[in-house]
């Protein structure tokens, strides 16, 4: 049984179709990265899957339960950490986790024990009795994650869990997500960070303008775009010689500027010694050499014609009801 199964899911806000009939399938124990720019429909999809928003069309099931007909069972099976950690700044961390335990139906004693254990797990025991309003962004995210785990959910939804965090806090969240997944939790992670999806996800769905434009493992998706290439920075006037030397080794790609030579190499890193020998034999001095692999951004560009980063004039927000 898949942990999440979605068929033709749609959501309209008035005339605006925010999610346009998406299909996806997440297997148990998987980390699924839902990648897309701001306003693509990620959060709207998550809100439908977590029963916070009714779909306009299609169907979806989470943990084997329909998100509309069996919403209560879905809510009992999932943990949710939404965008912009929805925490009450006037509560302490401990109060919040205990409240969450009550909401999930844990008996008081079990709730207290679980709160202590989770606060330890996310590294917040010292801050547990301080008000959340005084927490850093990273601490808030960790607390939010702890609250989502209070009932040991089988499926965990994380909506942009590291947006706005510094690199250290981001890595901490990644480690925690990996650890949870190793314990068997299925993770549905939305992100606008390529690296995050690449690092964490077993499978990635790329969404743009409410449609899934690509789906697969990060490696498969990148392989579909093309081979890696070697990027050479050579002295001025040596470009032609470098191109002649490398012509036999692979397809020459359009150069970025007057001092760079780009050679596509099917075998990846294994091609580097041959490139170096050919340049040496041709007497070309190389200032730097780098093997560049396709990224998920290349996949995104290939599928949509634009980069994942916010484009000028683009909207940050998904449509919301008036």
């Amino acid at each position: 049984m898949p942990a999440i199964e979605v068929e033709g899911l749609e959501r309209a806000f008035g005339e605006v179709l925010a999610v346009r009939g998406i299909d996806l399938r997440v297997e148990e124990g998987e980390i699924y990265g839902f990648l897309g720019p701001n306003g693509a429909g990620k959060t709207t999809t998550v809100r439908m899957l977590t029963t916070l928003l009714l779909p306009s069309g299609g169907r979806a099931s989470v943990a084997g339960h329909d998100v509309v007909a069996e919403a209560r069972q879905v809510r009992a099976s999932i943990g949710v950490a939404l965008q912009e950690a929805a925490l009450d700044p006037l509560m302490t961390g401990r109060e919040l986790i205990r409240l969450q335990a009550t909401l999930q139906g844990l008996p008081p004693a079990a709730g207290r024990e679980r709160a202590d254990a989770l606060l330890d797990r996310v590294g917040l025991p010292a801050a547990a009795d301080r008000r959340v309003g005084g927490y850093s962004g990273g601490m808030k995210r960790r607390l939010d994650l702890a609250a989502a785990l209070v009932h040991e959910p089988s499926v965990l939804f994380l909506d942009e869990p590291t947006t706005g965090l510094d690199p250290v806090s981001r890595k901490t969240i990644w480690e925690e997500v990996r650890a949870l997944n190793e314990d068997g939790t299925t993770v549905f992670l939305t992100t606008q960070y390529l690296e995050e999806a690449d690092q964490l996800a077993d499978n990635v769905g790329i969404i743009d303008s409410g449609r899934i434009v690509a789906e697969g493992t990060p490696e498969t998706l990148k392989a579909e775009v093309g081979n890696p290439h070697v990027e050479l920075l050579v002295a001025e006037g040596a470009v032609a010689a470098a191109e002649r030397a490398c012509a036999e080794l692979g397809r020459l790609l359009p150069p970025k500027d007057g001092r760079r030579v780009l050679v596509e190499v099917e075998e990846g890193a294994a091609a580097i010694p041959r490139v170096v020998r050919a340049l040496d034999e041709a007497g070309v001095a190389v200032e730097s050499l780098e093997l560049v692999r396709p990224t998920l951004d290349d996949v995104f560009v290939d599928k949509t014609g634009h980069h994942l980063e916010k484009e000028e004039g683009g909207s940050d927000e998904e449509p919301v009801p008036a």
């Binding site: 809510r75 006037l90 509560m91 409240l99």
Partner: protein, 261 residues
């Protein structure tokens, strides 16, 4: 644990959070306590001679007469503050945390109302204490005081339902906060601060039909003269009407919010 017991636990936990939230946010607690207390002090200090007016109900002191009005003012502002706090929860996404939990969703509204009712209880105790400290007698004795406390607490729950409905429908704290002047208008167009018999038209007629007047008189009577069954029943009926209106509006607003996300 049965479904009902579990829901009761959730309502209690959310009610406790609501009370903590009010006491930790000065802008929520000060309208409930400070403003009505100051108004009580100013009015009893400046208009105390009003009890000598012909037609003024027989009372021991102007403070004794004013206690019910101050309790009503505090209770209504507690309902308004509860609505503001609920709207803030919606704005910052905290209600999403609650809506994503496997609990009956109306328990979320009831939790908020439980907190508002507790603030109503606090308001009634506060003003009874002030009255007793400054020499006001409770004519109905302990039963009268208990009846006043009960009616104010139930009224807070009723008014809180209206505040919660507006918060759920609009999702905007500033809209709920904008109702503050309206609360005062409704209050001053009742017999909270002035005897109905001494009002002039059209205020007199409005006050006569204002449900708040029935509640005020139900609270005032045990303080100034003793428990009166008719006035108590009229107050209970007015409260029940507002409770039903608040719950119906809240239920509809909740459905709307869940539909639009």
């Amino acid at each position: 644990m049965s479904e009902l017991a579990r829901s009761a636990r959730v309502v209690r936990a959310l009610g406790a959070r609501s009370i903590r939230q009010t006491f930790r946010r000065p802008q929520l607690i000060s309208p409930i306590v400070v403003f009505p207390t100051l108004l009580l002090a100013v009015q009893t200090g400046g208009a105390g001679a009003g009890i000598e007016l012909p037609g003024f109900p027989p009372v021991q002191s102007f403070l004794q007469f004013m206690l019910a009005g101050s309790m009503m003012q505090s209770m209504m502002l507690a309902g308004n503050s509860g609505g503001i706090a609920f709207a803030v929860d919606i704005e910052m996404g905290f209600t999403d945390r609650l809506f994503a939990a496997p609990i009956p969703r109306f328990a979320i509204v009831l939790g908020r109302l439980a907190g508002t009712a507790a603030l109503g209880l606090f308001a009634s105790l506060w003003f009874l204490a002030i009255g007793l400290i400054f020499g006001a007698e409770i004519a109905g004795g302990v039963p009268g005081a208990l009846l006043a406390i009960l009616l104010v607490t139930a009224s807070a729950l009723a008014v809180g339902g209206i505040g919660a409905a507006i918060a759920l429908r609009t999702g905007s704290a500033s809209v709920v906060q904008g109702l503050f002047p309206l609360v005062l208008v409704v209050l001053f167009l009742s017999s909270a601060f002035f005897p109905q018999e001494l009002m002039i038209e059209p205020a007199k007629t409005i006050a006569e039909y204002n449900p708040l007047s029935f509640i005020v008189e139900g609270v005032r009577e045990p303080i100034i003269s003793g428990i009166d069954a008719t006035q108590t029943l009229e107050a209970v009926a007015a409260i029940a009407g507002i409770v039903i209106l608040g719950l119906v509006l809240s239920a509809r607003a909740l459905r709307h919010r869940l539909r639009v996300g």
